[in-house]
């Protein structure tokens, strides 16, 4: 059974590699700055370990704002208006949405199968689903 133990350790190690580590959403919540009336907040999170080794950089309106890590999240405060979240793995994928002053939006990133490596995708989710997902994730801004 030693081989089985070694195999399980190897699998767990592979799955854990690349997972985010950091304070929880609940720990972070009280430290987040208040939003101005012309500013909104966008949470970007990955709530799955699938494709954990892939850690693509996330851009908003073409500017890099963070790294997408498995089981991690980060947030960006942006002026109200139209925004485009994007990331590249073997192809570029994007999500466009509108942001109002004082509004918080939740963007779920996930990895799907690709031809050679996985591909990142984005979903815009509602506040209820977004906050529920964030509760189990680690703050991982870099």
């Amino acid at each position: 059974m030693n081989w089985l133990r070694a195999f399980l350790i190897a699998v767990i190690s592979i799955l854990a590699t690349g997972c985010a580590t950091g304070p929880s959403f609940n720990d972070m919540k009280s430290k987040m700055p208040a939003l101005g009336k012309d500013t909104g907040r966008v949470f970007i999170y990955r709530d799955s370990s699938f494709g954990a080794a892939m850690q693509p950089q996330i851009a908003i309106n073409g500017k890099t704002v963070g790294t997408s890590r498995a089981n991690g999240f980060f947030f960006v405060d942006l002026p109200a208006g139209e925004h485009r979240v994007s990331a590249s793995t073997e192809v570029e994928r994007s999500l466009t949405f509108a942001l109002e002053g004082g509004q918080t939006r939740y963007v779920r990133a996930y990895i799907s199968f690709g031809l050679v490596v996985g591909r990142i995708n984005f979903d815009l989710v509602n506040a209820e689903a977004g906050e529920a997902a964030l509760a189990g994730l680690a703050y991982s801004p870099e």
Partner: protein
């Protein structure tokens, strides 16, 4: 016989690999959403219409993806575009997807869903065919 069995095994593996590669390729090759610039005339919040979807409605997008409007979901008019009245979800978020994902509001004309207003791009994307809607 052994030779033929060996070839058969390789053929079977080859078929699976090919199937996997083709599937992965197709999954990554969703068509881009076709859209055109448009201008939204804002509705007066005091007089904006509110609607409630009366039956579960499945929308087939030109990209090959599907979207569902839940029965009982509520939508509030936010304005008008040339193609119809624009309604935003009151109780959730709604998006359409092709190669990329776009937040979307419904564009309704004569009780038919004719397309979507994409607020993140100030653009309109038409449905392949208007879809009759039932309201409560």
């Amino acid at each position: 016989m052994i030779y033929r069995r060996g070839l058969g095994a390789v053929g079977s593996v080859g078929r699976w690999v090919t199937l996997l590669l083709v599937s992965a390729t197709l999954m990554g090759c969703a068509a881009e959403i076709v859209r055109m610039p448009t201008t939204l005339s804002q509705a007066d919040p005091a007089t904006a219409r509110r609607i409630e979807i009366g039956a579960l409605t499945t929308i087939e997008l030109a990209s090959g993806f599907q979207r569902t409007l839940l029965s009982g979901s509520r939508w509030r008019q936010v304005g008008t575009v040339t193609q119809g009245e624009v309604f935003r979800s009151e109780d959730s978020v709604f998006s359409i997807a092709g190669a990329n994902t776009h937040e979307a509001y419904l564009v309704i004309n004569d009780e038919r869903l004719v397309g979507f207003y994409l607020p993140g791009e100030r653009a309109y994307s038409a449905l392949p065919a208007p879809l009759p809607l039932r309201f409560r």
